[in-house]
């Protein structure tokens, strides 16, 4: 969790909002630091987190999480974190026929229609426990990232349906949050990705967009972050609020500053 980003978003772990869909997207740069931020933020906020990690291994997130002050192994052991490790499970699913439906079953199928097994997995993971134990604050679904599902053979509509089902269950029924990362392919004509991105942008309450600088690589400013607050359900005559900051990623934190106000320049 980056304290400066919390200030920009005007939240703290104690006052986390509920029932929101947050969309993270990156264009021409790597936006995974946002995923690490939200993962540690919600773990510190005492929420139950289901993390569908399709792109990196568990120990990668664990090591970065330790730099940010959370231990994923402890969280997983005590039940706060349910971790689906895509890379490792894909090997199991692909080479050995599974007895029961596996969340990544579509890897084996030639024409997988939908992501229902994955949705069932998420629903099962974020089921509320009602045996009087330490109740977690609210369920959170974190997906890193959705563009990989397109590369693995799912259509954009199937992924949008999956998010829709998850929203109905997690956001509306259980008053939780969803955070998902989508890559913006920019000018390469990835139509499926654009459909997915546009569809999700219209449904999100908060969009965080990390972009590379238009002028190219810079050692002191790694990119630009655009924050957009939306109210998707109500038609509103006032504008959605939007802010733009530039950032520099350091070893254990990310520092944000107004455009042109990088400490290296001043």
């Amino acid at each position: 969790m980056f304290p400066e980003l919390n200030n920009l978003l005007n939240t703290t772990p104690d006052r986390a909002e509920q029932g929101k869909l947050t969309l993270l997207c990156d264009a021409n740069t790597d936006g995974s630091f946002l995923v690490h931020h939200f993962l540690s933020f919600y773990l510190k906020a005492n929420c139950k987190v289901c993390f569908v990690a399709l792109i990196q291994s568990f120990s990668h997130y664990n090591i970065v999480g330790q730099k940010l002050g959370v231990s994923l192994t402890v969280a997983r052991e005590c039940g706060q974190l349910v971790f689906l490790e895509g890379l490792k499970s894909s090997v199991d699913v692909f080479f050995r026929a599974q007895a029961e439906p596996h969340p990544l079953q579509f890897l084996r199928e030639a024409n997988a229609e939908n992501l229902q097994p994955l949705y069932e997995f998420v629903r099962e993971a974020l089921k509320p426990v009602d045996d009087g134990e330490a109740a977690w604050r609210c369920p959170v679904l974190l997906v890193d990232d959705l563009s990989v599902l397109l590369s693995l053979g799912m259509g954009a509509v199937a992924v949008l349906d999956f998010i829709h089902y998850c929203r109905a269950t997690v956001c509306w029924e259980r008053k939780g949050n969803i955070v998902a990362l989508v890559h913006d392919s920019g000018d390469t004509e990835d139509e499926e990705n654009n459909i997915l991105l546009n569809g999700l942008s219209h449904q999100s309450h908060l969009i965080l967009r990390a972009e590379g600088l238009a002028t190219g690589f810079c050692r002191d400013v790694h990119g630009q972050l655009r924050i957009l607050w939306r109210t998707p359900s109500q038609p509103t005559t006032q504008r959605d609020q939007s802010l733009t900051y530039q950032y520099k990623i350091q070893d254990k934190s990310v520092s944000f500053f107004a455009k042109g106000m990088s400490p290296a320049v001043l």
Binding site: D30, S32, F33, H36, S57, F58, S59, H60, I63, V64, K67, S71, T73, E85, G86, L87, K88, S89, S90, V91, F94, F95, L107, R108, E109, A110, N111, S147, V148, L150, S151, L152, G153, H183, S185, T188, E189, D190, E191, E192, N193, G216, F217, R219, I249, Q250, D251, K252, V254
Partner: protein
């Protein structure tokens, strides 16, 4: 099933331990440090593997790509468990050279090789590998020693050519190399004895294409399925993923796949725009899953300039860890450009992974050019001072010393 991690770094106290298949489902890139988590306690001892070293930034286990200059640009080397994607140059001249350097480095370090190609027989590829470069005074000693069967007391002189020294009494066990990256002489071939002493597996697609599949057809093309099964078989049989209790593997598997995505593999993304757009990306995903759970590193060369659907290229880039693009000047208008007259092409470092870290090592200079001199392949920073082309130059040589030449 609790498999023990079988590798580690050198004698340093912090390093990364690649573990696979342990009770707590630890996969790779696990850092072993003083505050080690519970699953670390089962790893009793660190054994150093030949040809690897820990990264200075995050303790990641690295292997050399065969080009010390490229190693430096990638932050020290290629991380074990990751994929290095080389976007081929137009006529596949320099990318196949990089491919050979990668394999030659594996032979010199004693790594196991897995060579997959649809165009050339892997045995032929191995015959064409460049010879390691010896300094001239070492070469004389080698000639004497090869005849006299001298023993290890002359170890001190043979810093680069230690393998040659062991030639008369070929040892099977891994010996730690005293250098991380080696230099190769592109004009000479690797000695036959070294090739025969090495352990390698070849996958030549035309030979394997007739055998039957025992996996139901998914959207992967036939060639990719067979290749994945072959790789998974080798990893399991030889114990690179730690799951085979009989095999205590303390070595790295170097996987080299040539021309992936070309029509010779049965994939049509280079022929038509509406080809099978998921086959290659699914293959890369499952391959990366295999790599992350085993002690292996992979180099893939891919003719991305032929892929018709540009969206696939961006998806492939997102699914690979390190991506390096080669652009040669042959046949382009840049060949006659005075700016580039000393060079054979440009190297673009398109992507470097941030493993176990928020940040990564990236060089400030983005303009890199390469040239293939008579013996060596060098990478240099490109300067745009055309009016001072013969005056001051700053470049890094292939043994990465920064040199100012006036």
């Amino acid at each position: 099933m609790a498999a023990v991690a079988t590798c580690g770094t050198g004698a340093g106290s912090t390093g990364s331990v690649v573990a696979a298949g342990s009770k707590n489902h630890v996969t790779s890139f696990q850092r072993r440090g003083p505050r080690a988590s519970g699953s670390d306690s089962s790893y009793s001892r660190l054994v150093s593997i030949a040809g690897t070293r820990p990264s200075v930034r995050n303790g990641q286990l690295l292997v050399s790509t065969g080009l010390p200059a490229l190693d430096q640009l990638l932050g020290g080397g290629l991380a074990v468990g990751t994929v290095l994607l080389i976007e081929e140059d137009k006529y596949n001249i320099y990318s196949s050279l990089l491919f050979k350097y990668f394999l030659a480095e594996g032979i010199i370090n004693g790594h196991t090789l897995l060579v997959a190609s649809a165009k050339e027989d892997p045995a032929d590829i191995l015959q064409e590998l460049p010879a390691p470069l010896l300094d001239d005074n070492f070469k004389k000693d080698f000639d004497e020693e090869a005849c006299n069967h001298k023993t290890a007391e002359s170890n001190i002189k043979m810093k680069i050519a230690w393998r040659y020294q062991l030639l008369p009494k070929m040892e099977a066990g891994p010996v730690s190399s005293s250098r991380f990256g080696h230099y190769y002489d592109a004009s000479k071939k690797m000695p036959q004895e070294l090739i025969e002493a090495s352990k390698w597996h070849g996958f030549f697609f035309p030979e394997k294409s007739s055998s039957t599949l025992n996996i139901e057809p998914c959207s992967l093309t036939h060639g990719y399925i067979k290749l994945l099964q072959f790789i998974q078989n080798i990893i399991y049989e030889e114990g690179f993923d730690g799951s085979n209790p009989q095999k205590k593997q303390k070595n790295i598997l170097r996987i080299g796949i040539q021309n992936l995505g070309s029509p010779l593999w049965g994939d049509d993304i280079c022929c038509t725009e509406n080809g099978n757009s998921h086959s290659l990306t699914k293959f890369l995903y499952v391959l990366r899953g295999l790599l992350r759970t085993s002690l292996s590193a992979c180099m893939i060369t891919m003719p991305t300039h032929l892929i018709q659907n540009k969206a696939i290229i961006s998806r492939v880039t997102n699914l690979s860890d390190t991506v390096v693009g080669l652009e040669s000047f042959i046949g382009s208008e840049r060949e006659t450009n005075p700016l580039y007259k000393d060079y054979h092409g440009l190297i673009h470092i398109r992507q470097i992974p941030r493993l176990n870290n928020l940040i990564y090592d990236v060089s400030d200079v983005k303009d890199l050019a390469f040239k293939l001199k008579r013996k060596l392949f060098t990478i240099e920073f490109l300067h745009t001072n055309t009016d001072r082309v013969n005056t001051e130059k700053t470049f890094i040589t292939s043994d990465f010393r920064v040199i100012h030449v006036f």
